[in-house]
């Protein structure tokens, strides 16, 4: 959008009758593609991006949007109406950047045409009055003949990668016209077209990409296959059908985390066995900055935690085992979670489920129980693990069918008295291998823990294209900032007869863009032109 030179003036006489509608359209288009409008739109874009950093964004952290709703119940619905939680997907943000790109297209397409034309044109003939140009070397006598001198100057200029044309004048003189620095405009256009390519690439990536998150618990019995229903949450692009997802299965076979003595993590590494398209299982490792790259899917390790293994034996002696991931709430892996057993205490005679006899456990898992008795873990590795649970019996509220968090019990059920605390206010501590006998004689055993990995699985088909676009754009940007377009002319006129021939050489130079070093370059060129002949 740099305006380097003035456009050629429009035709002198306007057509006699202009259609008002077309005139309006044309004027609007001119206004839109003007530099001033582009600058205003750039600013608008910058200003419009600000709210997205102030208000929580649903695409970044939906849970923070919920927190915002809770904290500002009056303001939040208004923000919602103005797309304040989805700034970068909002119509007003899109309208700014689409206008900007329309302005960009309106500016760079004609410039591309101009540039192609300029590239094919020979450098223009020397102006009559060389001394009127910004750089000028006064006439001086040189021994060589005009034609030979012009040829040697042209050679010198071509060696310096000037586009050079030699012309003979009717009076026996010669002129050399040369121009250089087309790469500046080439780079500038390249940069702007690369921007367009990146925008289009981002759009296609959004349409044809998809992503999902999944907690994968360790163990061969806890595998995951890439089906939409197996994700904890997922989002498909508008042009992606659930059946389009690539077919692969993952099992977490190992997870390793190392920590500093302060508890700050040093390394994470997950090992999975992968089977693609029903093929054989292979073992692959990946880590935080080194995702698992599969065909049309990348698996990123975002986090990890512990999943306690709990066995509940009900009043009829039937045992059920659950592996429940507890979500870490701090850097020391203090984790919170819930184990729910809705299908227990079923009378084998009647085979009827009594919903008032469902059992749920809620509490914290501390990988290292601190010695001071506080409720937070002292270290993220399992040095002295302890599980602190509160037991509830009654209707867990799972039969309603509405979607609920699987990491906490239903508060409404507890408040309504359908779900009762049966273990007192102090959570019961369980070490690995310990059994807790509840008031009705049923038992809960803490069998141990398994590691789990929080995985993000994503596919964006245009990613590599975007990288190419960005790199090309950067190259173009550097060319356009470093280059200088300039013209030089040399005129070689036959010297006076009495001086036994020779040539009178004069020169001029015109920088087409702001170029402070041009005077030095011009002086050097004139010097080289004279020396090349002696």
């Amino acid at each position: 959008m740099t305006i380097v030179e003035e456009r050629s003036a429009p035709a002198a006489a306007p057509p006699p009758r202009t259609n008002r509608f077309w005139a309006f359209l044309r004027n609007s288009w001119r206004q839109l593609t003007s530099m001033r409008t582009a600058l205003v739109l750039l600013f608008l874009l910058a200003v419009a991006a600000i709210p997205g950093s102030i208000f929580p964004q649903r695409s970044v952290s939906p849970e923070k949007v919920d927190q915002y709703y809770a904290a500002h119940p009056q303001l939040a619905p208004w923000l919602e109406r103005l797309d304040g939680f989805e700034v970068y997907a909002s119509p007003w943000f899109a309208s700014i950047y689409l206008l900007l790109f329309a302005s960009l297209i309106g500016c760079v397409v004609p410039r591309l045409a101009d540039h192609v034309r300029a590239l094919r044109l020979a450098p223009p003939a020397a102006p009559k009055r060389l001394d009127r140009l910004p750089q000028h070397a006064a006439e001086r006598a040189v021994a060589a003949e005009p034609a030979a001198l012009a040829a040697s100057i042209a050679k010198m200029l071509r060696r310096r990668r000037f586009r050079t044309v030699v012309r003979e004048l009717p009076d026996g003189g010669w002129t050399v016209s040369a121009e250089k620095g087309f790469l500046k405009e080439t780079g500038n256009l390249l940069f702007h077209f690369a921007l367009l390519a990146v925008l289009i690439g981002v759009g296609f990536g959004h349409w044809y990409g998809w992503h999902g998150n999944r907690i994968l618990v360790g163990g061969a019995d806890q595998g995951f296959c890439n089906l939409l229903t197996q994700y904890d949450d997922s989002a498909l692009g508008p042009r992606v059908q659930p059946g389009d997802l690539p077919n692969f299965c993952l099992k977490l076979t190992g997870f390793r985390a190392t920590y500093q003595s302060t508890g700050q993590p040093k390394t994470f590494s997950a090992t999975v066995s992968v089977s693609e398209d029903g093929g054989p299982e292979t073992s692959r490792s990946f880590t935080v900055n080194d995702p698992l790259r599969l065909r049309e899917a990348n698996v990123y390790l975002l986090g990890h935690g512990y999943a306690p293994v709990l066995r509940y034996t009900d009043r009829y002696g039937v045992a059920q085992t659950k592996i429940v991931p507890f979500l870490p709430i701090d850097g020391m892996q203090t984790s919170e979670g819930v184990a729910q057993f809705p299908d227990v205490n079923i009378d084998p005679k009647t085979n009827r489920r009594d919903s008032s006899l469902q059992v749920g456990f809620e509490g914290r898992y501390l990988p290292t129980v601190p010695t001071d008795g506080s409720a937070a873990s002292a270290f993220p590795a399992e040095n002295a693990p302890g599980l602190f649970l509160t037991a509830y019996r009654g209707d867990l509220g799972l039969d309603v069918g509405s979607p609920r968090s699987v990491y906490s019990l239903d508060r409404d059920q507890i408040a309504g008295g359908e779900l009762k605390n049966i273990s007192g206010t102090r959570p019961h501590e369980l070490k690995v291998g310990q059994t807790w006998t509840l008031d009705d004689g049923t038992k809960l055993e803490f069998l141990g823990t398994r590691p789990f990995a929080t995985l993000a699985i994503r596919y964006d088909p245009t990613q590599s294209l975007l990288l190419v676009g960005a790199v090309v754009g950067l190259l173009g940007l550097m060319l356009s900032l470093a280059g200088h377009r300039r013209r030089v002319w040399f005129r070689a006129l036959p010297g006076p007869r009495e001086a036994s021939g020779g040539t009178l050489l004069s020169a001029a130079g015109l920088p087409r863009t702001d170029y402070p070093g041009f005077a030095d370059e011009f002086t050097a060129l004139v010097k080289a032109a004279e020396e090349g002949t002696s």
Binding site: R36, L39, G52, S53, Y88
Partner: protein
């Protein structure tokens, strides 16, 4: 080693402070020193042109022509003060390097892992580039007072607000992209930061040349000619912009893709980098458009600097995001 780094840091600030005082000393006598005269002359010539005087090219009568030698002792002393200032500045730069090196050795990694180290590194780049500029073009030396002031303020803020004990990197930062992404951003931020100094002085000088004599413009009396400042502003920005583009919009997304699974996610830091990029792009466009005044263009560059500061301090301290490494050590 960490202790040594902290002591060196304090020493660095003190030496920059001393350099600042020396620059101020030269600045105070500026109109009569060699550099001061060189700086003052174009303005005098311009005023003559404005008056339509035919002798515009001749030096003003009350100024000696081309003072190659120092006419009196006082001038020589002032020149000496200026040299001391530059030398102190260079010493500060060495101590600054020592602070960074010992910090890096103590942590056994590049010293770019948290906000404190980041500011330290960006300020180092600004200081190094400034010294390079001042050695190549002594005419801009009068900006030294403002350049060192910016350094002292920034380092002071780093020490007071953002200080973090030496610590290792969190695993998310443990990547070779760390070096590409963070180094290019540090270098470009340092140069943008430095570019804001001649930018601001250009506006002041330009106002002074137009006859404004209110407070900020009075500072313009001794600074170099407006055109020189403007050109320096542009060159610093034109150098830093592609570097920033690489660091923020290529290396950053490449790393984000490998680490977080998406190349761009509108994290607050990303938002503000985007805003800075847009504003600096607007500056470059405005400057290359003949119909936009140079003062307007320079104002845009200064706005860009404000957005960089916002990203450095505001985003780290006010918004929680994925780039929240401000206290990564704790």
């Amino acid at each position: 080693m960490a202790e040594l780094s902290n002591q060196l840091m304090a020493l660095t600030v003190l030496v920059y402070l001393a350099a600042m005082v020396s620059y101020a000393g030269e600045y105070a006598f500026g109109s009569r020193s060699l550099i001061g005269r060189a700086a003052a002359r174009p303005a005098a010539a311009r005023q003559l042109v404005g008056a339509g005087g035919p002798a515009a090219d001749e030096p003003a009568a009350d100024e000696p022509a081309a003072p190659v030698e120092y006419p009196d002792k006082a001038d020589r002393r002032r020149e000496w003060v200026a040299r001391v200032a530059v030398a102190l500045n260079a010493l500060g730069l060495l101590l600054h390097l020592g602070t960074l090196a010992t910090r890096g050795l103590a942590a056994d990694r590049m010293p770019w892992g948290n906000m404190y180290e980041y500011i330290l590194s960006a300020a180092f780049v600004a200081s190094a580039v400034w010294l390079g500029v001042v050695l190549r073009r002594p005419a801009v030396r009068h900006l030294g007072l403002f350049a060192t002031l910016a350094l002292v303020v920034l380092l002071g803020a780093a020490g007071l607000i953002a200080y973090t004990p030496v610590g290792p990197l969190v695993p998310a930062l443990n990547s070779y992209w760390f070096i590409f992404h963070v180094s290019t951003i540090i270098i470009s931020s340092g140069i943008f930061l430095l570019g804001a100094v001649p930018g601001a002085m250009f506006l002041i000088r330009d106002g002074y040349d137009q006859g404004k004599r209110r407070f900020p413009y009075t500072l313009g009396r001794h600074v170099p000619a407006a055109a020189l400042l403007e050109r320096l502003t542009f060159r610093l920005h034109a150098f830093a912009f592609p570097l920033f583009t690489f660091g923020a919009l290529i290396a950053g997304p490449l790393w984000a893709e490998a680490s977080w699974g998406r190349y761009w996610g509108w994290d607050p830091k990303e938002v503000w980098a985007f805003i800075s990029w847009i504003v600096y792009a607007a500056y470059l466009h405005a400057r290359s458009t003949p119909s936009v005044k140079r003062t307007t263009a320079t104002l845009i560059a200064l706005l860009g600097f404000v957005t960089m500061l916002m990203n450095l301090f505001g985003v780290n301290l006010f918004f929680a995001g994925l780039h929240s490494y401000a206290n990564a050590g704790g």
